[in-house]
């Protein structure tokens, strides 16, 4: 190879090597950037996923709290309606039974006394009531005693006592005062509330979707 040819060869080889170095560097640089773009996409995707999960947990807990509060409010509202129904019933009952001379009161009185006597043991009993009722009972003691004896199937001996703490109804006591049966209107209302609330509840909210 002549010197001239040799010089040309060196020049050509150098250009080729430089080109190869440049090409490799560009490829590597492109690869680095592309990988970083992919990594960036993964990071964004992961962040979004994390955010969505956090949001899901937070939202689920917030909605559960709201539902709980709403259920409490519904229960409270229902309970208020139940109270209202019993309050109104109480008012109407006191109105209905305020006149001790009315046939309704007399029948009610007779019924609750007989009911109490039947539920009690023994035949010697004391009937406690307010003054007006006490007077009425004393006046009709024979009829009441007869009616109670008939239902009880035994001769009943009744005493009547005044109790200013009673508004409507009676408290029946055994002669030895060890047993008693509270058949005042308040006690009957309490009893109805305990045993009948479920039915009133159903009745009040029948048709609620």
């Amino acid at each position: 190879m002549s010197i001239t040819n040799f010089a040309t060869h060196i020049e050509k080889e150098t250009k080729s090597e430089i080109e190869e170095i440049r090409r490799k560097a560009e490829n590597e640089a492109n690869q680095i950037v592309e990988e970083s773009k992919k990594k960036a996409q993964d990071i964004i995707k992961e962040q979004k996923h994390k955010m969505a999960q956090e949001k899901f947990i937070r939202e689920r807990s917030e909605l559960a709290i709201i539902r709980m509060k709403q259920n409490t409010e519904l229960v409270k509202t229902k309970s208020e309606w139940l109270d209202r129904a019993f309050d109104e019933a109480q008012k109407k009952l006191f109105e209905l039974l305020k006149d001790t001379n009315s046939p309704t009161y007399k029948k009610f009185l007779n019924d609750i006394i007989v009911e109490g006597i039947v539920s009690m043991k023994g035949s010697k009993l004391i009937i406690q009531s307010d003054q007006k009722t006490n007077d009425l009972l004393k006046k009709n003691s024979a009829t009441i005693t007869k009616s109670a004896s008939k239902v009880k199937g035994d001769h009943i001996d009744l005493k009547f006592e005044q109790n200013p703490g009673i508004r409507i109804g009676v408290i029946i006591q055994s002669d030895d005062k060890r047993q008693y049966y509270n058949n005042t209107l308040e006690a009957r209302l309490t009893g109805t509330r305990e045993s009948f609330s479920g039915d009133v509840y159903t009745l009040l909210f029948e048709g609620v979707d």
Binding site: I3, V33, K48, M51, T77, L203, G207, V208
Partner: protein
């Protein structure tokens, strides 16, 4: 100096130039890769600090909508409950009175 030695020196000189050029190309290549790495780093940093406010806002909007629907549904239930109780109150009071007046003998 003979002509042959002169030519040989020219070639040596040319070799030296070529080596310098290759060395420069290597330095350029290192610089290109360094710049690429810097860019890559920047891209990743940007991704890490992506402003998520928009998607956060969108999610909050969805959440608020769910809460609003829940409240509406609850209000509707409550209204229906009150209307129903108002309608049935008289009947319920009547039944309570009947139960209180009823005696068991």
């Amino acid at each position: 100096m003979s002509k042959e030695i002169e030519e040989l020196m020219t070639i040596v000189e040319q070799e030296k130039v070529a080596e310098n050029a290759i060395e420069q190309a290597r330095r350029n290549s290192e610089e290109t890769i360094k710049t690429a790495k810097e860019n890559a780093n920047k891209i990743i940093m940007e991704a890490k600090s992506v402003d998520s406010e928009e998607s956060q806002h969108e999610m909050n909007k969805e959440s608020e909508e769910k809460k609003r629907r829940l409240q509406e549904e609850h209000k509707r239930k409550l209204d229906s409950l009150n209307k129903c109780a108002e309608t049935n109150l008289e009947q319920a009071v009547k039944k309570i009175i009947e139960d209180v007046m009823k005696v068991t003998i």
